[in-house]
Amino acid sequence: MKTGKKVILIACLVFLLCAIALGGAVLYYYAHPSSVKDLVERSLSRVTGASVTIRSLSYALDPLHLSVKGITVEPGTDMHGFYLEAPDLYAEFFLNGSFGRKSLIVKRLEVMGISCRISQEPSVSGVAQGPQTPSFFTPILKRAFAFFVFRDVTLEGATLTDGTAVVQSGDRTLRVHDLNGRLNALHRVEISCSARFEWPSRQMLLLAPRVRMKTDGAISLVNTQIGFFISLDDVLFESPFADLKDLQAGARLVYRPDRGAVTFEDMKVTLQEADIKESGQKDRVRLDLYVTADGAFGLKDHQVTVRRLNLSLGDRLKFEGELDAAFGTRKKMDLKVMDCRVMPQHLIPLLPTGLRKRADPVKLEGPIHLTGRIGGVEEGTGWSWNADMEARLRQNQVSFTSGHVRMSTLLTGSIEARGRVPDMEVSTDLKGQGVVFRGNGIEVGPFEAAVSFRGRYPVLDLKDLSARIPSLSVRFQDRAIRVDDIHLEAGKGRVNAETRTGSLPEIRFDSSLLKNITASLEAAEGTLKVVEIQGKETGLAGLAMGLDLLPSGWHLAGRDSVHVQVRVDGDKGMAVASELTFQDLGFQNPKGTFVGENLHLKATVKAKTDPSRHVVNADISVDADGGETLYDRFYVNLKTHPLASRCTGTYNMQERDLQLSRLSLGLKDLLTCEVKGRIVERKPAWQLDLTADIPELPLKPLFRFLVVEPYQAEKPLLGTLQLDGAVSAGVSVTGISSAWTTQGSLRWRQGRISSEERGVGLTGIELALPLWVQNHDREGAGTAMEGGLSIDSLRVPFIPEQALAVSLRAGPNRLSVVSPTRVKIPGGEVRLGPVMIDHLPGAATVSTGLAMDRVDMGALLAPFWPRSLVGTLTGTLNPIRVEGGKLSSSGALTARVFDGEVIFSDPGVSGLFAGTPIFKMNARWKDLNLSKLTADTAFGKIEGVLNGYAKGLEIAQGQVQKFDLLVETVKKEGTSQRISVKAVDNIAQIGGGQSPFVGMAGMFASVFKEFPYEKIGVHATLENDVFRINGTIKEGDTEYLVKRGLLSGVNVVNQNPDTRVSFKDMIKRIRRIKTSQDGPVIK
């Protein structure tokens, strides 16, 4: 026997034995159903890895059916948390087909009340973990089984009723209820259920009350590809952010075991409305969500591939793209955005109320197109994202509105972001056209602006920022200020979006008002930290005029240099340091009374705010060390007398309280003043509490600066005055701005006044001048302020040198010398005062009085009266008032001379401070002894008694200007009345301009020395340089100046009663009398 035959024989024997064994086994299990149950339990337990138990199992062969009750699958060693219970399962079968090609037809399969519970991370062996490598006998057995028993199984009818399933993972629970399934006559499976997904920790709930699945073909064990359509209706989703209702979803799913994947086609998700939640409030919005997608889900690698994903939210958003995602051990996602058209403004209503309100001021109209790719991979530390996205804007209308502020522009450009999120390479190029800004009194535009950023997020570098603004209008204090040709440019800068820091080191700014400005900005933690502005020849002067910061009509020009630095230190406040210098600064007020030229001025400000106390501490200094200034009449050469001023103080913004620690103002070598104190705003006035001190300084330069130089042209006398000594002052100002009081004192030590030209000299002056000035009528609560003046040596013309000491007292707007002051004069003394100076400091009035008693007139008039004079002067002038440039007095001084008296009354001066003061006086005389009066005078002797007056006597420029004079002799018993020839001649010459003693009259007169007379009477007036002389003795038409005696004498007749003589002629006539020592020439 050949070997081949032997093999065949042995195989047949083996096959026969197997068939016998199989037949025996079949017969055995048919006769012992309990053994079949055990076999099934063991087989299933082994296959599934779970503990499968069956309460009872029964079957029959004719008809072939199977009834299983109480199937329980409990988690085994490798089936964590999987539990299944099928209380009742019934199946009817039959075999169909020829031998070797039979099929098992499941005629009816009924599963009732199946419940499944999966917890933790379930995994079903052989299902979840993919096909295992078949053993050598498996294919043989499969083929043998298919040949002898059946090749496939066909399910013709099946029902599943009242099934439930619970899947639990962590705190996530998915419950499926009312799970019903049916295999219809077309061998298609229909499944319906309701599902509930809960995630308490995220407060999420998903309810799908109607979930339906329907296969589109018979389920075959051989060809296990299953296609089915799934739909979900009326889905409810609740989360803390939004509630979604009536969500519809559906898709055709195909289970492809060959690919180990489920593909889905024509997936559609629709949702009409959603409730957006915020702060317990719900806001219903219309979504119009519509999603369609085609793709596949890999069961092996848990990867989702969406090759077509379209999403739309009405006209708000239209997305077209692809998605690849993996949810296996290495989770990843890749979204390709082929085109995404977003209408940002239309998306606003979908935002929560808070965000919506925050976004409300901004409006971005028109679509933004997004393209690119976003991908993410889950790594050990979380998801890592990469992006390559580009957003494009084209003429999108952007506007910002807040209160009265509105800005709008048409924005065009792109924003690109590439690389790992968040460290992406970002590139931004945006251009604004027709930029318009209005608000806060500013109107700008339309203008164009551009900005470009590059960098790796979060650090972005500014490549270009530019704006060209044709004109800008600013409303400032009810005026419109126009600035043209504004050019703003920044080529460098850096922003860190993460730390919210940034810097713009160089921003260049030019405009028609302000030029050459460079600014830099630094920000940190989202707030501006440092601002620095500097520039040279910026045109600050022009800006000040353009902004009308100067009073109307002022002019200001000069080369400036400015540097301002502002540092913001969050809650600690802000520090400002600035320096402003001017070269060749010139200014002028409209009247030209305040002018500065070629000034070199430097101003620095250092200030710091303390927000917690609402306080600003400032240190301000202004120095000018070059140029000239002129204020009215006061000229300062600042190179010789540099100006230095400094102010340190604190201002409380809440209390409106300014504390001046120190305010010093000084002109070197001239004057320094220091002020301290407090000014508080107490509306509508200011509360003042200030002290000002002028430290001791030499008076000489100050007097020259303040008095001599400004007023010398008008008062040449000032040029002859020399003042020396040291002055100092201290005053306080208290009260409110509408009712303030200034009190203090002015001190003058070791003073001296001299005028050699005028013969004046005052030395050893010690003055403590009390000051009390106020702008209200209330009397001061305090007592009067005391002071004094002492002069060691007072030397003025016509009075003897003497010392002087007076006490001074100050009251409100008043200064007085309380006790009378005795002033020695030749022949006696004058009691002057008390003196009261009121209405200080403006239209001051002086009231005083003067008295003298029996002053020796001989001594008093010695400088003026060449002959010896015996007489006294007594009288009182009270009051004497000086007001409005006039001095007036009441009272009289009586001179007892020449056996009679002369009474001087109402003396006064007008034009007291003018260039030509006029002295006025009235005088009348009585019983003057003419003999004594005319003795030894050039006029010629006259005997008799003289009465008369001089009314309205005015003296100006040392000359008599006006009078109304009457001289008349009166008869007095025991007094002869005789007149010398010379006197007659002089009277005649004064009256007529020529001597009467010519010719025969001269011969006649030469015989006599004197003549008796009846009366002499002359009335003379002087006004406007014209003398009118008349005789007071009239007989008929004859007017006598001198009426002769009864028996003899000479008449001097005024031939021309209306004689007028010019002032100059009269002076000549008087001079002739004065110079003529001889008698009249009688020819």
């Binding site: 009374t593 002129l630 003018a914 420029q957």
Partner: protein
């Protein structure tokens, strides 16, 4: 007929009364011509047209016959009165103004001083001056105006013009001041 007469009577009466009322005129004494002549004389004297210390032609009665004749027609009785506008104050003022004029003359020539219509002097375009010179010029102007004010008062007083009319005096003087500086 009667109505016509009555109407005529009423019209006549009304016209008559109107004429009576219209005849009531108020005369304010203001000797403009005299002020003009005085102003001319004083300004000439200050500006050096009349030798210092010499009497004017008016005073001496020489020359200017035409003016004399005209004045005789204007005020034949007292023409001599009105010509005596002089006193020590006015002379003092004139002397000072004359001295000051010598100082101001260069500034007049350079157009830095302006004669106003109100009879007073003001600073013109003094751009070429330093501030100190400007200050000095200002003080000269101020002193000049102060003297002018007093001068106008004195002239008014001399001519017995009410002080309220001093501004008119000043305005007449202004015309003389404004004549080109010779």
């Amino acid at each position: 007929m009667m109505n016509t007469y009555r109407k005529a009577l009423w019209i006549t009466t009304s016209l008559f009364l109107s004429l009576i009322v219209a005849c009531v005129t108020i005369n304010i004494y203001f000797p403009a011509e005299k002020v003009e002549s005085v102003a001319g004389e004083i300004v000439d004297e200050i500006r050096g047209q009349t030798p210092d210390g010499k009497e004017s032609l008016f005073w001496k009665g020489k020359g200017l016959h035409l003016r004399k004749t005209l004045m005789a027609f204007v005020c034949p009785r007292a023409w001599a009165d009105e010509l005596t506008v002089s006193n020590p104050t006015i002379r003092g003022l004139k002397a000072r103004m004359k001295a000051r004029y010598a100082q101001m003359r260069p500034f007049y020539d350079q157009g830095m001083l302006k004669e106003g219509n109100d009879g007073y002097l003001s600073l013109g375009n003094a751009a070429g001056l330093g501030l100190k010179e400007k200050r000095d010029l200002n003080t000269l102007v101020s002193a000049e105006n102060s003297d002018r004010q007093q001068l106008y008062l004195e002239v008014a007083k001399a001519l017995k013009i009410d002080p309220s009319q001093v501004n008119r005096v000043a305005e007449i003087f202004a015309k003389e001041w404004q004549k080109p500086v010779r």
